[in-house]
């Protein structure tokens, strides 16, 4: 059931599951793919536009791996540095969308550190070259997540359909599975 011609109402878990599969198809290991799923979902919930942003890299597995696979690792490296010295800088090498980092930022906040460098009004498509891990996390609440869980998320239909198509190779044909069981 669609909400308008260009959007489709989806549940947060659907985004996670599709991004996970797309990332596996693109070559990410299961852990990185799961993390990508969490980042894109969190970005869609809190910032909006994450499904479109992720869909835009589906045709470029290298970019997907760099931004959505390795990007969060760079941020984690900065967190390790910040724990030792009080501050750490993440330099991503390529402009990295917040769609690839949103859950990782929240995780760092959950461990007691803040992440500076995200402009007010940023969306999931907003890219960053670097972020600083330092200080205390920004206060946050679960309002957006609760709303998304209750009402769903209206996302771009074309982008969502692109994810469905890109995730399809994660599945194995029933005929093949039946054949190898014989």
């Amino acid at each position: 059931m669609t909400d308008g011609r260009l959007q489709v109402l989806v549940a947060p878990r659907e985004i996670h599951d599709l991004v996970f599969r797309c990332a596996r198809v693109a070559g990410l290991d299961a852990g990185a793919a799961d993390r990508a799923g969490r980042n894109v979902t969190a970005a869609e919930v809190h910032l909006g536009g994450a499904v479109e942003t992720f869909a835009s890299v589906l045709g470029d597995p290298q970019r997907l791996a760099t931004e959505f696979g390795a990007g969060p690792d760079v941020l984690v490296g900065a967190e390790v540095e910040a724990r030792a010295t009080g501050s750490g800088v993440a330099r991503f090498g390529v402009p990295t969308p917040l769609a690839a980092l949103a859950s990782a930022v929240a995780d760092i906040g959950g461990r007691g550190l803040g992440v500076d460098g995200i402009q007010a009004g940023a969306t999931a498509a907003t890219t960053v070259d670097g972020l600083q891990v330092t200080g205390s996390p920004s206060p946050s609440d679960g309002t957006a997540a609760a709303r998304a869980a209750r009402d769903g998320l209206a996302v771009d239909r074309v982008a969502f359909d692109a994810l469905i198509a890109a995730a399809r190779p994660f599945l194995v044909a029933e005929s093949i599975l039946d054949e190898i069981e014989d």
Partner: protein, 601 residues
């Protein structure tokens, strides 16, 4: 606000679960469950730490695979809640043709909210009947909706619900289900009622159902409402409550369809099911490999399911025998014996069939007779049962739990878990090794370096996304594997850690070995006693039926009839009150009904 008290004298609500630096509670921004609630079960278990069964026993595959429905199975907790809160339920619309094809709507009024179960029925050729989730045609397709259904929504449901996995739902829809008629018995039951007769017990055999379901989707699948989307005071803010309300009404539909078709066929001669039969039939269910990934991907959920049972068992085992207790337990043993004695002698390998459970229950009765007047009789009975093997021990566990009078408000709360966690990248290799030893020390017993340990991988079929197993030597995963190979992943992670310096941060290990990231996340998430079945899903010897049976028992299903190593048939709500019977006098002793013995015309 003071937390509620629990029977059994727990006083450890304020106790905190110990955490090592390796893990942190996930940011509140995404956690929707108050920390006190998320930790409540752990506090209850900690307060009974010397009396609960160890995970080394409770999580053994053969013990999980001997589980039976209990007082805390979801079918029973749902109906107790319905009674306690004064729910009412009934059919508000039925438009069926003589063959039972059409639309039916049921409504549940939970006081603060109403819910509608909208179901579309048709007939398909007998040859198209299949229990597998991959079927593309069903005789019954239904959806549970939050609120009443207006014409616009009904029109949409007519299109989307029969499509099942291919349909598109929205957050008003809480559960989606489908199934078929029992090929063997639907027509027979119609014929008998149409002729003015009740069924012949010998003809019905041990058929415990009229309709057989195959799935109850919910929680965000296909656009439905997410579980986290239920506000705190919502009647379905308890795991699986929405699905079991839907299942209960699905079962009602079976009765309504048979009686409708009988009236259409027999006219004035037709009769309805009489008192002996009107509760006997439950809802059948066919279950395949889809349950397995869930169990292995949600350690905190699994812990809650096992932990609640272990908590209640610990309370009963130390209970001081009251004058009426012995009679109550004897009554439950006799009731179980009568139920299984009226069941079949079908081959249910690797489980015991109904007839084989009769002597087992005779032994239980005899053992209770020996210990009932001694010290700690319930504990003595359990200890005896454990020595007889898992089928006996888990039967006795379920019987003993009938004596537990836990507060349902509390137990509903205990099933709620917060699954969010995140690994601290600054944790040292030494800390991670310690945690691995503490939580997964049992991996060394599984011969995980031997080739048979890695024989299978788990895959999702392109046909309605049914999980399957594939032999690695016949098909390479190529990135399509479902990450339920928990034992192998953790074992290999541990091997890698052996070669790393104890003081380096685990982030450095992952930088060199990103393939272990999921293992680290699992290690962190697996912070509960009962979260991990002691099994390897990829081994040649792995038997899916065992974890399936555990899950099905927690749902409230029984009559486990395996069809091969990967799928089985079960029955739920057999003996349960019908919708119209719901009321303050409805009791919780409806399980384990005996098959009617006499035929009335």
């Amino acid at each position: 606000m003071h937390p509620p008290r629990v029977g059994g004298g727990c006083s450890a609500w304020q106790a905190r679960v110990e955490t090592l630096p390796l893990e942190r509670t996930y940011a509140a921004a995404v956690s929707l469950i108050p920390p006190t609630s998320a930790d409540a079960l752990q506090a209850e278990l900690a307060a009974r730490s010397g009396r609960i069964r160890p995970a080394a026993y409770a999580m053994r595959p053969e013990v999980l695979g001997a589980a039976r429905l209990s007082r805390y199975s979801f079918s029973r907790t749902m109906l107790r809640r319905a009674v306690a809160d004064g729910w009412t339920a009934g059919r508000v619309h039925q438009d069926l043709d003589a063959e039972g094809r059409g639309e039916t709507i049921y409504v549940v009024d939970a006081g603060t909210q109403r819910f509608s179960f909208v179901v579309f029925t048709t007939t398909i050729d007998e040859s198209a009947h299949t229990d597998r989730v991959i079927a593309d045609r069903w005789e019954v397709a239904g959806a549970l909706v939050d609120g009443d259904v207006d014409d616009d929504l009904l029109a949409r449901l007519r299109i989307e619900v029969p499509e099942q996995e291919s349909g598109r739902m929205d957050p008003r829809i809480l559960s989606l289900t489908r199934g078929n008629r029992s090929v063997r018995f639907f027509g027979y039951l119609v014929d008998e009622l149409a002729a003015g007769r009740q069924p012949d017990p010998d003809q019905v055999g041990d058929a415990g159902y009229i309709l057989r379901s195959t799935a109850f989707y919910a929680n965000g699948k296909f656009g439905m409402r997410s579980f986290a989307g239920y506000p705190g005071d919502h009647p379905f803010r308890v795991p699986y409550r929405a699905q079991f309300v839907a299942a209960w009404m699905f079962r009602e539909l079976g009765y309504d369809m048979v009686e409708h078709c009988a009236r259409a066929k027999g006219g004035d001669n037709a009769v309805g099911f009489d008192g002996e039969w009107c509760r006997y039939f439950g809802l059948g269910n066919a279950t395949g490999l889809g349950l397995v990934p869930y169990a292995f991907k949600h350690p905190r959920v699994l812990d809650a399911w096992v932990g609640v049972r272990e908590m209640a068992l610990a309370d009963v085992r130390e209970r001081v025998v009251a004058p009426t207790d012995g009679a109550v337990l004897r009554g439950w043993i006799a009731k179980a014996r009568e139920h299984f004695a009226s069941g079949s002698n079908d081959d249910c390998t690797p489980f015991l069939n109904s007839q084989a459970l009769v002597p087992l229950l005779d032994d239980v009765a005899e053992a209770w007779g020996r210990v009932a007047d001694g010290a700690d009789p319930y504990d003595a009975l359990y200890l005896w049962a454990e020595n007889q093997g898992p089928e006996t021990s888990e039967m006795v566990v379920s019987l003993l739990l009938e004596l537990h009078d836990g507060d349902d408000d509390l137990f509903d709360l205990l099933f709620l878990v917060d699954e969010h966690s995140s690994a601290d990248p600054t944790a040292t290799v030494a800390e991670v090794r310690a945690k691995l030893d503490e939580r997964f020390g049992w991996l060394g017993e599984l011969n995980l370096d031997e080739p048979p340990a890695d024989a299978f991988w788990w895959v999702v079929s392109d046909n309605t996304e049914e999980p399957r197993r594939a032999r690695r030597d016949r098909l390479a995963p190529e990135g399509r594997d479902v990450a339920v190979d928990v034992a192998l992943r953790l074992w290999r992670f541990g091997r890698t850690l052996e070669d790393r310096h104890a003081d380096e941060p685990v982030a450095a290990v992952l930088a060199d070995h990103p393939e272990h990231r999921m293992a680290l996340e699992r290690l962190v998430a697996s912070d509960r006693r009962y979260g991990e079945p002691r099994d390897n899903t990829c081994a040649t010897s792995y038997l899916p039926l065992q974890i399936q049976r555990f899950q099905l028992a927690q749902y409230g299903m029984d009559e486990f009839k395996p069809k091969d190593t990967d799928w089985l048939r079960v029955t739920l709500f057999q003996g349960a009150p019908r919708l119209a019977e719901l009321g303050p006098d409805t009791t919780d002793d409806w399980v384990l009904p005996a098959r009617p013995t006499s035929r009335k015309e």
